[in-house]
């Protein structure tokens, strides 16, 4: 299936679209630019106007978005159009066509009365809010007061929203929410890989341009090795994403988790590394490396990477299923 199409076919288009999006301040204009190129609905079913392609086709688009610092809830659009396609096809269609913009409050639940980490929460018309029972509700943002969640988050401008009592709107079941969160891991990892690739490219370009002590910076082994390590990190992330999407059977849940947690850890480290390679220039507002750092940290926070590592730690020491060590007595 899809033999005539290659995810790589989307690379060029995606890059151009991200450039066009960066050239406008208008969120709705970005939505229609993305939609016209078919990028919002790439994994959404054809019935709602999507292309119905497997998730690996979203990877180059998300990489381009990460590299291009796309200030738009793209991950959310992809996840919601897929999650709503069957139960609420009109809404899914509206998201795919860019007619309406929805985002997700990744942190907090309805019961808290306040939710946070909603990318472009101030401009989106709809907001998915999680509930303590595992379900979620897609509510309208009109009338909700929004403020920036995190000073460090510039491009996504994620919002904290105060809820006015119980919410009404389209509902997602706990199963649908679990799937959405699971898929989010891979989409975020791909986004981070794009952001990392951009940082690495910028650092390599600078190192091969700037001269100190009469030699190119890229002639110094300390920097060459630093950049080589960053490439290793980038390729490790990418292979993690590829494997997670390649249907590895019973290994799938761990493969997804590792792809995501690996990206969340390595991505920001590569941005930090690129800042170091740039020297004083790296510490300026003008050089966009800090925006990549902010963007990747924001994704890590929204995906609750730190807590997720702790949860993995708990599961890990709760015992192993390796049958070779079955005979060892378990006393705890």
């Amino acid at each position: 299936m899809f033999d005539d199409l290659d995810p790589k076919d989307f690379e060029e288009t995606a890059r151009e679209v991200m450039e066009a999006c960066a050239a406008t301040d208008d969120l709705a204009a970005r939505a229609s630019t993305l939609a016209e190129a078919g990028l919002l609905g790439v994994i959404a079913p054809e019935a709602v106007g999507g292309l119905g392609l497997p998730a690996r086709f979203a990877v180059p688009i998300l990489e381009a978005a990460g590299a291009g610092l796309l200030a738009f809830p793209l991950i959310e659009a992809m996840l919601l159009s897929e999650a709503l396609a069957h139960a609420h096809p009109e809404m899914a269609s509206a998201l795919v066509s860019g007619e309406t913009i929805a985002t997700i409050a990744w942190l907090g639940t309805e019961a808290d009365g306040i939710v946070a980490g909603a990318p472009r929460g101030e401009g989106a018309e709809h907001l998915l809010v999680f509930r303590a029972d595992g379900s979620a509700v897609l509510t309208e943002t009109a009338g909700l007061s929004a403020q920036l969640s995190d000073q460090l988050d510039t491009d996504f401008a994620s919002a904290t929203l105060r809820l006015a009592g119980p919410l009404t709107g389209l509902e997602l079941s706990p199963d649908a929410v679990a799937t959405l969160k699971d898929n989010a891991q891979i989409l975020r990892a791909a986004f981070i890989a794009g952001s990392t690739a951009s940082c690495l490219k910028q650092a390599c370009d600078l190192a091969q341009d700037r001269v100190q002590f009469g030699r190119l910076l890229s002639s110094y082994q300390a920097l060459r090795h630093r950049l080589a390590r960053d490439l290793l990190a980038l390729e490790t992330m990418r292979m993690g994403v590829t494997r997670a999407l390649s249907n590895p059977g019973e290994a799938a849940p761990m493969a997804r988790r590792a792809a995501w947690l690996g990206a969340a850890r390595m991505g920001p480290a590569c941005a930090e590394s690129a800042i170091q390679v740039f020297g004083g220039m790296g510490f300026t507002w003008e050089v966009p490396l800090h925006r990549h750092l902010r963007q990747m940290r924001t994704l890590a926070i929204q995906g609750q990477a730190a807590a997720s590592v702790s949860a993995l730690a708990e599961t890990l020491i709760s015992g192993s299923s390796n049958q070779w060590y079955e005979e060892v007595p378990d006393v705890v």
Binding site: V211, R224, A228, L231, G262, S310, I317, V332
Partner: protein
């Protein structure tokens, strides 16, 4: 001999069942309290693995292999990795000499050398490094001169793993002068019982006597034992080496996972050691993530090789990644077992001995098969193409 089963996972299931029945007693690396397996026992086990279809999987049937693909190789290696199985005695034969012979050997050489590698009649060693030529292998000085009696080899090799227990040496020597660097290098399959070869064991940090110095004094090597033409042998060998660097011991990530499983299981056999384990849970979770990402390297590579893609310098990525990930695990594991109580039970003592051995052994992993610094140089130069001058 086994033939390829059609449904995915079946080959792995076959391997698992075989291991359950045959990997027993002192062959298991998690039973350190038993008398260690002898070299003969290990060789017999490895030969049996081959007969059962767990080794020589991708080699042509004409040369004693099973004629299957890297996919079955990967499936079997997942199971080999998850099991506490010993490392291969003849990995140089199977994963280095064998593939090189398949690439550059004559038909006679293939028929002569390859089956005996799999049956364990011939264990091979790799005579590349020299006292003055380690990372800078092209500086090697061991000479091979063509005479009317055949080639005459003079020189010294060092760090030659398993040389004192091997029947054949994959020897890299020089036909011209040292200044020729990569030119004029020639590869031989040298019988280790040839007069003039003197092998001296070197004690490693683990206390074992496994790697050796090998001296060649007017060693006469038959023309028929030359692999490829002079020069050609080396260039073909480097191609093979880059694939091998990336794909050898394919079970590694699953073995690392198995070591981690062993450590956790053992710690859970005593409330006191479980309390210690809890303090390291987050560090171990980070390691577990790295092990899983290493599987991504391996499986992506297998797909690329199956699709006929060139590997080239990208083999440095998994080498660098696995060696450092394993060292990180080993360091944490060694710290945990060092805190085990003095009256710890047998499961804990077994795990302790295994983790201590892994800790020391892992120190070599960033040195052999190209040091970390050399891998980083390769990545910077040949993958990132970073300029050194404007």
């Amino acid at each position: 001999m086994t033939t390829a089963p059609k449904d995915p996972g079946a080959y792995g299931a076959m391997a698992r069942t075989w291991l359950q029945q045959n990997l027993t007693g002192n062959l298991r690396t998690d039973r350190v309290h038993e008398t260690p397996a002898t070299l003969d026992e290990l060789k017999a086990f490895e030969a049996a693995m081959h007969r059962a279809g767990l080794a020589g999987i991708t080699w042509p049937k004409a040369y004693g292999g099973h004629g299957l693909t890297l996919r079955e190789h990967l499936e079997a290696n997942r199971e080999i990795g998850l099991a506490p199985a010993p490392n291969a005695v003849n990995s140089i034969g199977k994963e280095l000499a064998g593939p090189i012979i398949q690439a550059v050997g004559t038909e006679e050489q293939k028929l002569e050398y390859l089956p005996k590698i799999l049956t364990m009649e011939n264990v091979w060693c790799q005579g590349f490094s020299e006292p003055g030529a380690g990372s800078d292998l092209a500086a090697l000085r061991t000479r091979a001169d063509r005479t009317s009696d055949g080639w005459v080899v003079n020189g010294q090799k060092i760090w030659t793993s398993g040389a004192s227990k091997s029947q054949r040496c994959l020897l890299l020597a020089r036909t011209g002068v040292k200044e020729d660097r990569h030119k004029g290098l020639v590869l031989f399959a040298v019988p280790m019982d040839t007069p003039g070869i003197d092998t001296r064991e070197i004690r490693s940090i683990e206390g074992h006597r496994h790697f050796c110095e090998v001296f060649f004094n007017d060693v006469v090597v038959d023309e028929a034992n030359m692999l490829g033409a002079p020069d050609e042998g080396w260039s073909a060998a480097t191609r093979v080496l880059s694939i091998e660097r990336a794909s050898n011991r394919m079970y590694r990530s699953w073995r690392f996972e198995s070591e981690l499983d062993h450590l956790i299981t053992a710690c859970r056999s005593d409330a006191r050691t479980y309390a210690i384990l809890q303090g390291y849970a987050r560090d171990l979770a980070e390691v577990r993530i790295e092990i899983e990402l290493l599987k991504g390297h391996v499986e992506t590579l297998v797909e690329a090789l199956l699709a006929g893609e060139e590997i080239g310098p990208s083999g440095s990525l998994p080498k660098l990644y696995w060696s450092e990930a394993h060292q990180k695990f080993a360091r944490i594991a060694a710290e945990i077992v060092a805190r085990f109580p003095t009256d710890a039970g047998q499961p804990l003592l077994d795990a302790k001995a295994r983790m201590e051995a892994i800790y020391l052994a892992s120190r070599a992993e960033t040195i052999y098969a190209g040091t970390t610094e050399i891998q980083l140089d390769i990545i910077a130069k040949r993958i990132l193409n970073l300029k050194k001058a404007a």
